[in-house]
């Protein structure tokens, strides 16, 4: 199977999702800036969202699913979750900045063992 020649199918979506996910994870693991880490989280979540939407699409997987709206619903749910998470996380970052005058996550090591 050749991805470049084949028509766009679910595999392509999954590859895009995986790339987004990995990019996000790498971003989380490498960024010292808390805002960068949050962005990485967003990428990871959206990578997962692409997968959900792909798997839940009647168009991409004909005859497999019932009504075919599950993926979209979960994706919406994840978006809402991401929004809520961003609000909380940004509040934490703001507080962190107030206390430490920086947003470097490596400085947040007071609870280390």
């Amino acid at each position: 199977m050749n991805l470049l020649t084949d028509p766009v199918g679910i595999t392509h979506y999954l590859i895009v999702g995986a790339i987004l996910f990995v990019t996000g994870a790498v971003c989380m693991a490498t960024k010292r800036n808390a805002l960068g880490v949050l962005m990485g989280i967003e990428l990871v979540l959206n990578g997962a969202n692409v997968n959900f939407v792909a798997f839940g699409s009647e168009y991409l997987r004909p005859g497999v699913l019932g009504i075919g709206l599950d993926g979209q619903l979960i994706a919406l749910f994840v978006i809402i979750l991401a929004a809520a998470e961003a609000a909380v996380a940004l509040a934490i970052v703001l507080n962190f900045y107030n206390n430490h005058s920086t947003v470097d996550v490596d400085r947040a090591d007071e609870l280390k063992g």
Binding site: A29, K31, R32, V105, D106, D109, E110, L111, K112, G113
Partner: protein, 817 residues
């Protein structure tokens, strides 16, 4: 004034006033006046009130109301009139029933019959019940009274002498008003005991003592007697042990109490026989159920009116003896009982019943032996000298020892001739043993103590040979002179601070009142008098005893030794009393230090001495309008106006007492008494008055005898070996058994328990604790190791998550596919 209702009130009050004093002092004693001085005054006032009440009862209630014929009694007491008149014994309101009784034996029976046919013959007494404690079937126990002339006389005597002693004690005990240093008690740190004075406590006990003694005298039933008997015992215990810190005093108190318990054991047996067979404790006839007829008391049961008051075995005892022949639920008929009663041959029912009566009597007498310090229980009385001297005076005259003799007198109707013989023999032995010990004693109070024992022996002897009024008479006269003698000795001890007569001498110059009042006492106890003219109190009572013993000897020649021993005892009495007087008051001072410090006692102490000395001289004179003999004669137990014969012991005859008043006995006895008294006195003068013979030399000559007497016939040693040693031996063995076996078992068990506990402890510590602690330590170590994973670096955590997820994915895809 109705005597039957007045007497119980007067005497009851006289009895209870000392109790009130006791209670008040018990509650408020230390706060009464300075150092409790008021306690002495209160107690004295209380007993003084009792004395006044008793004397009123005697002179203003009893004497005017009950038939009274002093001239007859005075006549026969003094002259031994052959024509003997018993006075009528009816109560005054019944009229004067004179009863003409028999000078000669052969006329007696028919005369008596005539007399009882024509007259309601009643002994004057007042009996009743104040308060019923309980009724158990037929048996009734209550606070009752039995008042006859003996009761009234005893009340007057006890309260009067006790009053004198209280006055005296106020002076004698004044040391106790302050802090006291007891030089006879050395504490472990070498100092003498220092303690607060106990003046009030002394008078508290004294009041209780008087109350208890009066309780015995007024008691209307034998159970009540027993209660007050024990109260007297406990009071004597308190008072003998007054200086409780002294070892000797506490020992003496214990000895008195324990020896008395031995006697009381017998008394309880007697009581049980009476309770089981007669169903009543009451002395007199009291109408308790209110049906108009009086229930018969012990006296009426034993000496029924139907039988002319001669001793018969009561129906109850016959029934008890014949219990095997009586079918259950069947009441034996009167004929059957009479038949059984007559069956007195060996093995017969009547004999068993008779034995019951004897044992009941002897049981009661056992208690009297303990209380009146008769052989073989006389050992406690001399040791009782550890108490303060006023106590000795009280114990030895009016209370305690008098209680025993009084009870024998009170219980007289119940004693069979055989029991009386035992009493006589015991009395005889006692009087001789005690008199001989008194010869060598040097402690002034011990001489008097043995003299008391000896005189009590006289009383018992008199009672035992049928001389009821002689014994009671001697009890009264003895109370006067013995309290006098003791208080004199107390006065001497107070002056020279020692009891040892060998340190005295010549004291009559320093303390004339004491010396001459004591001389009066000595003469009285010796029985001095001009024969057939006049004499001191002891002269009359001792003569009466000797005359009765002589009369008994004439009727029972085989028991003649009783008279001889009594005569010899009288000589010894005179000897040791004057030995005491000469050693103390005459001659040259033996200890100049003591002599120089000697002084006459304060007035409060020697005034009572003078009063008692006068009474010791005159109290027994028969020419008073109210003579003691005539008074006592009124209370003579019914049935003892005539000669009594024994049943078990053959040839045992108790001659009637009036026989002893006849000239052939009375004159002989008077001469004998005078002769032995004078010979004893002469001997004392030879030894101690004029020092013609050296007593120490004589003591060396008769060394074994002297040692024997000095050691009090070795009674204490004997009892030590017979009773104390075996008890100690058994106790020691038991203690060893305890220590070795019982303690061994207990200790072994304890050891085992300890070992098991130790094992348990080990397992707990190493097994259980080890497990729990190990777990905790492991958890702790694991936690310590794991904490290093918490680096606090978020990027690293993300890396872990990613790597972990990938690793899980790889693993799952490797194993599951």
């Amino acid at each position: 004034m109705d005597p039957a209702s007045t007497l119980p009130v007067l005497l009851g009050l006289a009895w209870l006033v000392p109790l009130a004093s006791f209670t008040l002092i018990l509650l408020f004693g230390p706060r009464m006046g300075k150092h409790g001085q008021g306690a002495g005054m209160l107690a004295t006032a209380a007993i003084g009130t009792s004395a006044v009440l008793s004397l009123i009862a005697l002179f203003f209630v009893w004497v005017p109301n009950y038939d009274w014929a002093p001239e007859h009694h005075a006549a026969h007491a003094e002259h031994g009139s052959a024509e003997h008149h018993e006075t009528g014994h009816g109560e005054a309101e019944h009229g004067d029933h004179g009863q003409d009784a028999h000078g000669a034996d052969e006329h007696k029976a028919e005369e008596h019959k005539t007399a009882s046919e024509h007259h309601e013959w009643h002994k004057p007494y007042v009996a009743g019940e104040w308060y019923t404690l309980g009724q158990f079937g037929k048996l009734r126990i209550g606070i009752s009274y039995y008042i006859d002339s003996l009761t009234v006389t005893m009340f007057a005597m006890i309260t009067f002498i006790a009053t004198m002693i209280h006055f005296y004690a106020n002076g004698y005990m004044h040391d106790e008003l302050h802090e006291i240093t007891d030089h006879e008690v050395t504490l472990s740190d070498g100092h003498h005991l220092h303690r607060p004075g106990r003046f009030h406590r002394f008078f508290q006990y004294l009041s209780l003592f008087c109350f208890s003694m009066l309780g015995i005298v007024i008691a209307g039933n034998i159970a009540m007697v027993f209660v007050f008997w024990e109260l007297v015992g406990i009071c004597s215990y308190f008072l003998i042990g007054f200086y409780i810190e002294r070892k000797s005093a506490s020992n003496a108190a214990n000895k008195a109490f324990i020896v008395n318990r031995v006697g009381d054991f017998g008394m309880i047996i007697g009581l049980m026989i009476l309770i089981a067979t007669l169903g009543t404790f009451s002395f007199g006839d009291i109408d308790t159920d209110g049906d108009g007829t009086a229930e018969p008391g012990i006296f009426s049961l034993v000496r029924t009116e139907a039988n002319n008051h001669a001793l018969v075995v009561p129906d109850g005892m016959v029934r008890a003896a014949a219990h095997s022949e009586i079918a259950a639920g069947v009441e034996p008929t009167a004929e059957q009982i009479a038949k059984w009663r007559a069956d007195t041959g060996p093995g017969g029912v009547g004999r068993t019943a008779y034995w019951l009566l004897i044992v009941a009597g002897l049981g009661i007498f056992c208690g009297c032996v303990g209380k009146s310090a008769q052989f073989p229980l006389h050992v406690w009385l001399p040791d009782a000298m550890e108490g303060p001297t006023p106590v000795s005076a009280l114990v030895h005259s009016a209370t305690m020892v008098a209680a025993g003799v009084y009870l024998v007198g009170r219980f007289y109707p119940v004693f069979t001739p055989e029991a009386l013989l035992v009493i006589a023999i015991i009395g005889c032995i006692t009087l001789f043993i005690a008199a001989t010990i008194a010869i060598v004693a040097v402690d002034i109070k011990r001489v008097l103590a043995y003299s008391t024992v000896s005189q009590l022996g006289y009383m018992m002897l008199a009672l035992g040979v049928g001389g009821w009024s002689a014994g009671m008479f001697h009890l009264i006269t003895h109370a006067f002179f013995k309290s006098l003698l003791f208080m004199c000795s107390g006065s001497v001890i107070h002056a020279v601070h020692t009891n040892d007569m060998t340190k005295m001498g010549g004291l009559r110059h320093k303390m004339p009142f004491t010396a001459y009042t004591m001389l009066a006492g000595c003469l009285a106890i010796m029985g001095a008098g001009i024969p057939f003219m006049i004499g001191l109190s002891g002269y009359y009572s001792k003569d009466a005893i000797l005359a009765q013993a002589l009369s008994f000897k004439a009727s029972n020649p085989q028991w003649g030794f009783l008279f001889y021993v009594a005569s010899v005892g009288a000589a010894i009495t005179a000897f040791y009393m004057f030995r005491l007087w000469f050693m103390t008051f005459a001659g040259k001072p033996r200890d100049h230090h003591a002599y120089d410090h000697a002084h006459e006692s304060p007035k409060i102490m020697y005034y009572p001495l003078i009063v008692l000395a006068v009474l010791a001289v005159v109290v027994a004179w028969p020419f008073w309008p109210v003579s003691i003999v005539a008074l006592l004669e009124q209370a003579r137990p019914e049935g003892f106006h005539e000669t009594v014969n024994g049943v078990l012991v053959s040839n045992l005859t108790h001659p009637a007492e009036h026989i002893s008043h006849e000239p052939n006995f009375h004159n002989q006895a008077t001469w004998v008494a005078t002769f032995v008294g004078l010979s004893g006195l002469g001997l004392a003068i030879v030894f101690y008055g004029l020092s013609l013979l050296n007593p120490a030399e004589v003591a060396r000559q008769f060394k074994p005898l002297y040692t024997f007497l000095w050691n009090k016939w070795y009674f204490d040693e004997l009892y030590h070996y017979i009773f104390v040693k075996p008890v100690l031996f058994i106790a020691n063995r038991v203690a060893e058994f305890d220590k070795v076996v019982i303690d061994g078992i207990i200790d072994g068990l304890a050891l085992l328990t300890r070992m098991i506990a130790r094992l348990d402890d080990l397992s707990d510590r190493y097994l259980v604790d080890g497990f729990v602690n190990g777990l905790a330590a492991w958890t702790y170590a694991t936690g310590s190791k794991l904490r290093s994973a918490e680096t606090g670096r978020i990027r690293q955590y993300v890396m872990f998550i990613v790597v972990g997820t990938v690793a899980m994915f790889v693993l799952i895809s490797l194993y599951i596919s």
